[in-house]
Symmetry: C2
Subunit: 575 residues, 2 copies
């Protein structure tokens, strides 16, 4: 197409609101336009890239035999009640009433809808295994949309669901999807994505992986062992072996610590290291009202996901407790000894073999030195609710080679088991006529976030550097002095028609702009092949200057050589 | 693919809930599944057809140079306030609040969103004209969803918007879209769709057409002149010439009509014809509370769309008035003479030259004979608020050759003018640097309804009869005794692989079902080419029996002739 007609102007300046590079270049390049908090329009360039990503995903889904369907975004409360998620999911599930006062939701995921859609479609074991997928609009009322397309409220998602009569079949299909996902990341230009074990969260089920692009702008923390390649989201990462720091048993001693309520103050006051101290972190369950006190060594942090899983409590129902009157808790001075409370008390594994720590004395302005939980509290359960540290042992190979990096989740896959089929009563008959609930897997990729992640991995502030597989145009013709020089215009127009005839999607910069502007825009448009048409090169024998995306050098070819040159180049690039 | 794996079972019985043929065959064939009132899942077959329809639409949109974008379904009240439509549109606009209590809507159309998305993208006249389109999820909270995909609440729509610096440019683009729409209807298999002049409704603007498929199940009424081809939706159809029935002037005479409140009773009581009577139809405006009394000749009906346009009142704000106390209206006996009311009174054109009609006397149990409005009421405005009748004169050629048919609206196009650009303050500078509001056109097609309409035109209760352009599969192989006869299985498998290699989308019925079931399902799946593989034809020289969709006869070909035969057939079918 002619660039003068392209809707979505590039901006000269870096957008103020951009917190990450993908957000910035998408705005700067005219790919997206913000409509409301976390809600965007895809402009023509953005839509073109997204369509190519969607096609790649479609191809990979079809390859594993998934059948495409389309489910609605609006669902009834009744449907979500079937799984109990109408109540259990927090306010990210947008609830509303229709004109007849029927309670509805905007779907953020489609387990219930899929099972309901297929309820009577697979009543014999012979149909199994099978899977369906869709590319569909979802809405998740995020508390904090951020970073452009990374965390939005309305988004297109590819979600797939597989159905099985045995765990082996589910495991097999799961592996197929796993591979399909790796293919997808490769084909869109981020082969470096890694799969990490993850939390099953609101989905339930027996196992899950997230696909993570490691990059600074990611919100997730990924634990990686460089010795054995163990990968896990911090949310579920664990360690089994601890170095004991305080090995020497001491007598308990009550010490006066006037107004010393924080670990920092206590360190300074006692001249001890953080690892010589214990701490209490206090939560409240909003569902039961109960108080939860977690004790751990002071150099560790509570891993709230692990804690929630332990307590079987929903995301939003567990919050840090604020000081309350009459709850028998001496805030700032809480410790395991002489604790007189009906709160649920949890002891982290980091305390198990520590013989002597400083804890609060449960008395204003006093702490206890020399606390040994086993000796002073008794035989308690030590459970794993702390965040893994880079200094910890790998739970698989027991080496101390962990690193923790930021990552963006670009996909996830879950083994759901029969949670949803059971709750919605979807059954099949086996060979003997006995009925069972099928097992399910589910497999999601957010399309917009995937696009943004490609940019996080590849783009700079001036250049998108998209791979040919998802670039908005195949070829960008940048003629210099197009509007002023007849020869340039003629050659540019000729090759524009020629390349279109050869089936390429070509953008011709027919604008009256100088070379600097044209090349800057071209870097933002990111076609893998740029052809510069200039007076100088015409004079040097009707030559065209070609630059390809993965190489900074330019090549001069004649018009006659052009199509063959491009054909060969594109053959080198496997999509 | 293998039919045993296809998700979406056919049903033997005609679905009880089906009110029209498209609804029935879509359920019976396993194309759709209802999720809630007016909300459906597209099952694999349905999704395949819809995808093909969308591709055709995309091709035609790209051909007119429209650029694809994607806007969100969730929008803010703030955006809809910019055009005033947050308040003016009725409860079909679904309003809700997000987690931050921000008022939002589910978009049912995207004029506001388009202008907002493009606000700063076309500030120079040089960019014009241009157009954008999307294929996108919409929600319209219909009071009465009905007839499967014909009238739903959640739907995918292709909506396009064009922008112009002159009326001529808008007119030109409008004509291009007009032609593109006709191409679309031809290509999906309903070339008989007609364009009719239509009401601009909530869109505003200077002119509009609806594309109508004439069929009994349609909700719209279409007026057609078989002499001059005048076509109009009943909502805006008009007539300019009236046959006067009651030409003889008479004296007014008060007659006793005890409890005679309806036209039927009055006819019987007075022994007059309906056209000798006058009637009053009483409405109430919900926005102002005002009463509206429409007088017209009793053989005519009020055209409420024309009335609403005349009153400039929104769809839902004008309702038939129920009897109220103390409003000075003598219900059942309302007439133009001695009418003592502050209601707004409207006289239909049908009364203009009538010299003698019977009307209510505005007194309980009395009517007046011989009423002549001009003489007895005075010089009033006679306006056109009645429905056109088949016996009326065509407003264009003045012949009496009107017919009125039912139609389904399968698309609409509007000349919007600058209504939205003005309200959202989108401007461009002309060659002299002067700023203007661009003119807009908008162009919509509901995808699901289009599919259903194709079925209304082509399907029977047992057969979808889709054209090759949108059939879910290219070729359906129906081997008889596939699971029992080795030879049949081998030949069927061979041609299945052969045809897939040749690029066709092939469905192989590998199920253990009898011929009757297989052919019945095949009619519902509606591939344009059916190949039957049977023991008998194998014995007769390895022959395959081919049936194509537009011909009831079958042809026998050998495996070697097969690909060529299909290639030739498909060349005959222009998509």
């Amino acid at each position: 197409m002619l660039q003068s007609k392209l809707i979505g102007d590039t901006k000269k300046e870096w957008p103020n609101e951009a917190s990450v590079v993908s957000h910035g270049v998408l705005l700067k390049g005219g790919y997206i336009k913000q409509m409301a908090t976390g809600i965007y329009t895809l402009m023509p360039l953005g839509k073109k890239v997204i369509a190519k990503i969607e096609n790649i995903i479609r191809e990979e889904m079809n390859k594993v035999g998934a059948q495409e369907i389309l489910m609605p975004v609006v669902a009834t409360k009744k449907l979500w009640d079937m799984s109990g998620r109408y109540d259990s999911v927090g306010s990210e599930l947008l609830r509303f009433k229709d004109r007849n006062n029927t309670e509805m939701v905007l779907s953020m995921t489609h387990e219930e809808a899929t099972v309901y859609s297929l309820l009577s479609e697979a009543s014999s074991y012979q149909k199994y295994p099978f899977s369906v997928y869709q590319l569909q609009t979802k809405f998740r009322d995020e508390a904090r949309p951020r970073a452009g397309l990374i965390r939005v409220r309305e988004f297109t998602m590819k979600d797939a669901y597989s159905f099985h009569t045995s765990q082996e079949s589910l495991d097999e299909e799961y592996d197929k999807f796993f591979e399909a996902y790796n293919n997808i990341y490769k084909r869109v230009g981020i082969p470096q994505v890694v799969a990490v074990a993850s939390d099953t969260g609101i989905m339930g089920g027996s196992g899950a992986h997230e696909f993570m692009l490691l990059c600074d702008s990611g919100e997730d923390k990924i634990v990686h062992c460089s010795s054995c390649n163990y990968n896990a989201n911090m949310e579920v990462a664990y360690t089994t072996k601890y170095d004991v720091v305080n090995k020497k048993e001491e007598e308990i001693e009550k010490i006066y610590t006037p107004n010393i309520k924080t670990i920092e103050d206590l360190k300074e006051y006692t001249k001890l290291e953080t690892c010589n101290l214990g701490k209490a972190v206090i939560y409240k369950r909003l569902d039961t009202g109960k108080t939860i006190i977690v004790f751990l060594r002071a150099d560790r942090e509570v891993n709230e996901t692990k804690l929630r899983n332990l307590l079987k409590v929903d995301d939003e129902a567990l919050v840090p407790k604020k000081e309350e009157k009459d709850d028998n808790i001496v805030y700032g001075f809480v410790g395991p000894v002489n604790l007189n409370t009906d709160a649920q008390v949890i002891y982290d594994k980091s305390l198990e073999n520590e013989k002597s720590l400083v804890f609060g004395a449960n008395e204003k302005d006093y702490h206890l030195k020399g606390v040994n939980i086993l000796r002073d509290v008794g035989k308690v359960d030590f459970v794993d609710v702390a965040k893994v540290l880079e200094t910890d042992y790998c739970p698989i190979c027991n080496k101390k080679e962990l690193t923790i990096s930021n990552g963006i989740e670009v996909g996830n896959i879950f083994k759901l088991g029969d949670k949803y089929t059971k709750m919605l009563n979807m059954t099949y008959s086996d060979e003997n006529g006995k009925t069972h609930f099928p097992l399910m897997g589910c497999y999601g990729i957010g399309i917009g976030r995937l696009f943004a992640s490609v940019l996080e991995a590849r783009a700079t502030e001036n250049k998108l550097n998209l791979p040919p597989s998802i670039a908005p145009f195949d070829i960008h013709i940048c003629p210099l002095d197009y509007t002023k020089n007849e020869q340039v215009k003629k050659l540019a127009d000729d090759i524009y028609e020629l390349l279109k005839l050869n089936g390429y999607d070509v953008l011709l910069d027919d604008r009256n702009k100088n070379a600097g502007v044209k090349f800057a825009d071209s870097d933002l448009i990111s076609a893998p092949i740029r052809i510069t048409v200039s007076k100088r090169n015409i004079e040097n024998g009707d030559l065209l200057e070609i630059k390809v995306y993965d190489n900074d050098e330019t090549t001069l070819v004649t018009k006659d050589e052009l199509v063959k040159y491009i054909e060969d180049k594109r053959k080198e690039w496997v999509f």
